[in-house]
């Protein structure tokens, strides 16, 4: 019954999306304000129904309704409740439904909350949002129905991939999806602006909170995903340049560029066509990412069950939306006026450089991700891994870090190069001090790129807080705080990445009980191995005594065996100290009482995720600041016209 309710809600939502698109088109084309007035309420209702459909699916999973095919294939009645619920989006159909639920909710939020944009542009924006939603409704209803029944119903389900049975799954995909879909709103804004021809600071100010919100969610999603992969996969790595990771990184890079260019448009009325272009690219990249994950054309640890028909469907949607938006851009970009010009030494110029560098990194990641496919065209089978990405994107990213330090210290419109140099005294001193310190402790022991990264990170720490220097902190606008915190986060994350790469110590031993092994400053002794039983798994658990100086700890890594479906996973044990993490994985026994044991000491690795969190926090502060600023501005306007 609940399943049928969900399916009905989905059909209704699809019908409303069609209505929303038609009303927007007629309203704009015939200049019928009365028809256009229907767009907002219809969008809100459509969003509500899409969310109801998602809730229905979650209810079906919570009840372990084994008459629904999706539940049978991805759940099991013995699973803990959290994973039953999370199982609703831990599969192809459910995650697509989550995607459209967010898409609908995003459109509803625009319809209910957006007060800055002129009515015509808003109608066009909601029309574009309906067009996107319509395609994905069709995809769900015709090619991936999540509510399909199975007859006769089996006694129990097949279970969920154990790697996905982790709190990480409950939050990582929804956060990322919300971010992707937030970018769809920016995309719709851009399409709307192209349709009505209004690309101006008002448009930028209206779009900015959506971009900021999407970007904060993407940042959080990527950071959480990175940590999840780090502790769950048991490889000790935090980023693998896997196609699916790249699929989340590419929209983030585009969104980061968009975030900065939209500031130029809002503050100085420059970079008009470029900003619109980026808004289109950012969402296109999330669609490309979805396509890469779902179609299975690239091999990845994240691969979903592969079905070429579904791949073809998403590809068709991709062609329709991205191709359509880019064709619209090509046709209408001529009508977007050039906007204001600026000096080579100015904040605007710095932001243009930021955009170019981010675009280069985006290009590198895109080419690296797709290159195996190109190579396959020439009959060569290969995979592109960290050596390419690190070497090609690393140096560009470091230049970008330098720019991140300089940019906020340059004035809008025009500045004096000498004066900017003067403001950089403290950051340069910090970078030099850090370089000297590193050299004193390690000599030439650290690779040049990592040496540079650590020094630049120290410089950026100082540079990022300089814009706050000398201000009365309580009266400083929140968006300025946001920028400082986000840039500080970049420095912290960079320091963590470089420290992890430069100073990690690894030991692989066949450990016999009682014989100590050394890794970095730690002495690790295997005390013994005991069996453990969990809710739906059994495991062998190693007890490790860890000592550094006078301090002692106990770590308990596990090898877990899940019965539904039968799988083994390594549950790493991690000891977090202020100066880093000790990461332990227990492997297989050798049959003579020894166990394969893998140990890593990773100094300051936690900075990576702390940095990511700071970046997201900075974005959130900016968002709050911009929303407040917008309200104050409207109150002022209202008072002036009254």
């Amino acid at each position: 019954m609940i399943a049928e309710f969900g399916l009905a809600a989905l059909w209704l939502a699809a019908a409303l999306a069609a209505l929303q698109l038609a009303a927007a088109a007629i309203g704009l084309d015939r200049a019928r304000a009365d028809v256009a007035a229907a767009v907002r309420p219809v969008a809100a209702a459509q969003g509500l129904l899409a969310v109801l459909a998602m809730l229905a699916l979650m209810a079906v999973f919570a009840n372990s309704d084994m008459t629904v095919r999706l539940v049978v294939e991805n759940s099991h009645s013995a699973k803990p409740m959290l994973y039953k619920l999370a199982g609703a989006w831990g599969n192809h159909e459910g995650s697509m439904l989550l995607w459209v639920a967010f898409l609908g909710a995003g459109g509803a939020a625009v319809a209910l909350l957006e007060r800055r944009l002129d009515e015509r542009s808003l109608t066009a924006t909601l029309g574009a949002q309906a067009a996107i939603a319509l395609g994905f409704y069709a995809f769900l209803l015709f090619a991936s129905n999540p509510f399909a029944r199975v007859w006769p119903a089996p006694a129990d389900g097949l279970g969920l991939n154990p790697i996905l049975q982790d709190p990480g799954l409950a939050f990582h995909p929804p956060t990322l999806y919300a971010g992707y879909v937030g970018l769809s709103v920016a995309f719709s804004f851009a399409v709307g602006a192209l349709v009505t021809g209004r690309v101006d600071p008002a448009f930028a100010r209206a779009m900015r909170p959506w971009v900021l919100g999407a970007w904060v969610l993407l940042t959080l999603g990527i950071t959480a995903g990175s940590y999840w992969a780090y502790y769950e996969l048991g490889w000790g790595g935090w980023w693998f340049w896997d196609p699916v990771e790249n699929a989340s990184l590419m929209p983030w890079l585009a969104a980061t560029a968009l975030l900065h260019s939209v500031s130029v448009l809002a503050a100085r009325d420059g970079l008009r066509a470029w900003t619109v272009m980026l808004a289109v690219v950012a969402f296109s990249m999330s669609m490309v990412g979805t396509f890469l994950v779902r179609s299975g054309i690239l091999t990845s640890v994240h691969a979903f069950a592969v079905d070429p028909r579904r791949g073809a469907f998403i590809l068709a949607l991709l062609g329709l939306y991205v191709g359509g938006a880019l064709a619209l851009f090509a046709a209408r970009a001529g009508s977007v006026r050039g906007g204001a010009t600026f000096d080579p030494v100015s904040r605007e110029a710095g932001l243009v450089a930021n955009n170019l560098l981010l675009s280069v990194i985006l290009g590198v990641v895109l080419i690296g991700t797709l290159y195996p496919l190109v190579a396959a065209g020439f009959g060569v089978q290969l995979s592109v891994g960290p050596p390419f990405f690190n070497r090609a994107a690393g140096p560009v990213a470091l230049v970008l870090v330098v720019l991140t330090a300089i940019g906020p210290l340059v004035r809008w419109r025009r500045d004096d190069a000498g004066a900017v140099g003067g403001r950089l005294g403290a950051p340069v001193a910090a970078a030099s001090l850090s370089a000297a310190g590193l050299f004193a402790f390690n000599g030439f022991g650290v690779a040049p790129l990592l040496f540079l990264s650590l020094s630049l990170a120290a410089g950026l720490v100082v540079a990022s807080v300089l814009p706050l220097w000398g201000r009365r902190l309580r009266r400083t606008p929140l968006n300025l705080w946001g920028m400082a915190v986000a840039h500080l986060g970049v420095a912290v994350a960079l320091a963590g990445m470089a420290s992890d790469a430069a100073f990690t110590r690894e030991t692989l031993v066949a450990a016999a009980p009682g014989i100590p092994a050394r890794v970095g400053p730690f002495v690790v002794t295997l005390d013994g191995v005991i069996p453990r039983i969990g809710e739906n798994w059994s495991a062998v658990e190693a007890r490790l005594s860890v000592a550094r100086g006078d301090s002692e700890w106990v770590l308990r890594p596990q090898q877990r065996y899940f019965s539904d479906p039968p799988t083994t996973t390594s549950e790493s044990a991690i000891l977090t100290r202020p100066d880093g993490q000790l990461y332990a994985v227990v492997g297989r026994p050798d049959g003579q009482g020894r166990w394969q044991l893998r140990l890593w000491w990773k100094p300051f690795v936690t900075f990576i995720w702390a940095g990511g969190t700071l970046i997201a926090l900075g974005g959130a502060l900016s968002l709050v600041g911009r929303l407040r600023g917008g309200r104050a501005r409207r109150r002022f306007d209202a008072a002036a016209t009254a």
Binding site: S284, A312, L315, G323, A330, D590
Partner: protein, 174 residues
């Protein structure tokens, strides 16, 4: 100029679209093959792993075909594989072992317990051989022909059904 530039994004996308469209239609082949098949085996010289058995020396291996088996005492599929290697040795096929990240005591105990099919075992403490010949894990077995070229790669443990084919491949490699 500006007129042409605005079409660049659409053109790039069309290219991307064509590429992934083709990728979607193409039949999938997901097996990882060593790029070194048909190529000469890099010169391997490894110290002896256990007393009384030689290590791997490029000079001693010249001129006759053999099986190169990458294994480790800590690897569970290797345990299942060991009796098949003993069978291969009994059929007159030389099996040269490379023990990855292992200790002498552990390998000796492994051989005593599960059987010893090796004519020589080299110790590779840093996985150098694996990197050099594009092996993706343990166990993995390569057929090396008389000319020192890699003729065949067998990923995973050697099962009873594989023995005859591997023996034939080695005999065919003269």
């Amino acid at each position: 100029m500006r007129r042409a530039i605005v079409w660049v994004p659409l053109a790039s996308f069309a290219l991307l679209f064509a590429l992934v469209g083709w990728g979607l239609m193409r039949p999938a082949d997901r097996t990882v093959r060593s790029e070194l098949i048909g190529q000469e085996l890099p010169e391997l010289n490894l110290p002896a792993m256990v007393p009384g058995k030689p290590g791997v020396s490029a000079a001693a291996l010249k001129g006759r075909p053999y099986l190169l088996n990458i294994f480790a005492s800590w690897c569970v599929p290797c345990v299942a594989e060991a009796p098949q290697l003993v069978r291969l040795r009994a059929m007159g096929v030389p099996v040269v072992g490379v023990a990855v990240r292992d200790t002498s005591d552990a390998v000796r105990a492994f051989l005593a317990r599960h059987g010893d099919g090796y004519s020589a075992i080299g110790s590779d403490t840093a996985s150098r051989v694996q990197l050099a010949i594009g092996s993706s894990g343990v166990p993995e077995t390569f057929v090396v022909d008389a000319g020192g070229r890699i003729a065949l790669q067998h990923v995973g443990d050697v099962r009873a059904d594989d023995v005859d084919a591997l023996a034939a491949a080695v005999r065919g490699g003269r």
